[in-house]
Symmetry: C2
């Protein structure tokens, strides 16, 4: 480990079949008015909506609702939340759903009492949070983004065709998150796979960087192996609680900053996907899946030792008889097989992108990268390979 | 993952060469009077004492000192700390040293305003903490116990010849811990090795339990591999910052509860060593080293699948041509070699134990265990094999 780091993560996690039992205890720590946020109604089908409303009522809370949060939560929805928080003097924002709902809740949390234009201040200029933060709690119904235990908030500004993300300080993290893997049983297979690949991508974006000797890389290898193993079970047996539990916990710990400590990190696949998402509104993990193999094939020679290690330690490939290039490519091939096993698309075309979008996506993507610093031309080449 | 779990760890970690720069900012969050605790003066040789005292003075603090904390911190020292906290109305306990000093600080933290006999209430009857908790901060000078990011406190009652440990809730964790791997450069080789093996033992005590499929086991394997790798570098090159960094972080994350989530856990090696320590005052990690190989040889057949996995995934042994017993034993053999490489004793005799102590140690050890439930007779057999 060459770099210094700070670590602080004060989110309380309640994990398991009975995790919801902890909600009423947590509610007692906040004031009377709760903004209940959720997506397009899957929590009603699940019966979770009724349970949560009952717990809120029994706790004597006044409930304000903001529903219909999109899978790429929009800035206009965020502003609607800001209005509700201010008008009703909301004491706690309770996000029930996947990462989209929780990301939006954190966005509202920092924006409600922001005197400037929140989009510009927080998602364009990346300024520090210096205004009142409205506390957020979450009940997770879909694993993948890791939003339940970090300060991340990705918001899509539809007018500007920009999907920008940032990580707020730990004070913005959900104060508590309730994780019951059973809630993911009813998530459609495609969305579940998208979430699994989102997690895999988070782990790889952290892993593929740096040439130091770092404990974090060993931990990342462990989490990737567990995720791959459990994903293989979950795609065949969607009601397997153990596999769903592991996937959910891999997603949470895979982006709660522990797996990124002292790592430079890459994140270019996410940067590209954010712009892809702004143009196509595709599922985030599906977008990542379509980009990843072409991206890693494009950059691997700049960090070949790590890709060889990926083949050996994550995929268990015996590379003894291979050249270094073959050894590195073998792991990327395995990654491609994993994407197929998950039933995710491997081209942008399948996700609704058209060829004329590619230069627009390339030009609007924030350039960066880990082993290889990417510019717009590099990004366009990757997009064309992904198309 | 079959079990539910709660996770909450609010300790702030400042890690790296300049970590001490964060002390003054942290001090501003507490009142005027600080109890400065340390061991037998190594922090003075290191020049750390002077630096810390200067930072405390510049922050306008009144400093009360408690020094000479033993490597097995005694209950009488804890009571001395309780007296100092109450007489001086201490606002913050600042522990500078290894796990012994931090364990003792946490013990004082919960005992200072306890109306009952603290030993009986907290270390014998294991009652909940319902009295005022004095906040603790720590500056770590030796890696191993993990005390810097958990609620653990092991205290030796010399009158009763009992070394009892318990884990307090996260509210008792250090509020902040400052980890600079350079502080460990001057730790004598034997103590450093003892700390490394303490960490290894923590990881194994969590790993060797359960027959479920659990993400935590994959993370444990990663941390063990990193520790073994970096220990091999550090024993040859004691000034290698990268290796020392990894060892320090393995120790912290290896007992901050993340690596134990949803695990039954074993802890019988620690239970035995605690009593060994009460009789011989040996270095904790050295005691663990002497017991571990005989213990795991004694119990492995009750959890053979996990021991085979340990050989494969932690030590990288190709077990294809082995029987399951051979495969399991191969990993335990490697563990024995690791102990030798660290220069630690492999017998109790070398640690000052005498043969007549063995039945006394066996009888006073709390029986428990993971794959195999141990009774006093089992424990005595392990002790005789370790002798």
């Amino acid at each position: 480990m060459k770099f210094d780091f700070n670590y602080y993560n004060p989110t309380k996690i309640y994990f398991g079949r009975t995790a919801l039992d902890n909600l009423s205890g947590e509610l007692s720590g906040y004031g009377k008015t709760v903004l209940l946020m959720y997506g397009k109604g899957s929590i009603k089908k699940l019966g979770l909506y009724d349970k949560v409303v009952e717990i809120l009522k029994n706790a004597g809370k006044t409930v304000v609702e903001l529903s219909g949060i999109k899978s790429n939560p929009s800035y206009s929805q965020l502003l609607e939340g800001v209005r509700l928080v201010r008008e009703n003097n909301v004491d706690l924002i309770l996000a029930v759903g996947g990462g989209s709902v929780i990301d939006c809740a954190k966005g509202i949390s920092v924006s409600a009492y922001c005197d400037e234009d929140p989009w510009k201040k927080y998602w364009v200029d990346f300024k520090d949070v210096d205004n009142r933060i409205v506390p957020v709690g979450s009940i997770l119904t879909m694993a993948g983004t890791g939003s339940e235990m970090n300060g991340g908030s990705v918001i899509t500004n539809e007018d500007e065709k920009l999907k920008n993300g940032r990580v707020f300080p730990p004070q913005v993290n959900p104060k508590f998150s309730i994780l019951n893997p059973e809630y993911t049983f009813t998530v459609p297979a495609y969305q579940m796979s998208s979430g699994i690949f989102d997690t895999m991508s988070h782990l790889m974006e952290q892993y593929f960087s740096g040439d130091d000797d770092n404990t974090t890389d060993y931990i990342l290898e462990g989490v990737m192996r567990s995720l791959i193993h459990s994903a293989g079970i979950a795609v065949k047996d969607s009601q397997n609680y153990e596999a769903r539990s592991n996937i959910m916990w891999c997603a949470t710990i895979g982006l709660n900053t522990v797996t990124g400590l002292s790592k430079e990190q890459d994140w270019e696949v996410h940067m590209i996907e954010h712009q892809l998402g702004a143009y196509t509104d595709c599922a985030h993990g599906a977008g990542l899946a379509a980009i990843s193999v072409p991206y890693y094939k494009y950059i691997y020679k700049s960090g070949i030792d790590k890709f060889v290690r990926f083949s050996q330690n994550v995929w268990g490939i015996n590379t003894d008889s291979m050249t270094r290039e073959e050894a590195a490519e073998a792991g990327i091939e395995k990654l491609g097989e994993f994407i197929k096993e998950l039933g995710l698309p491997s081209t942008l075309k399948e996700l609704g992108a058209t060829e004329d979008m590619l230069p627009l996506i390339a030009r609007s993507t924030i350039p960066g990268g880990g082993y290889k610093k990417m510019n717009s031309d590099d990004i366009l080449k990757v997009l064309k390979e992904s198309y």
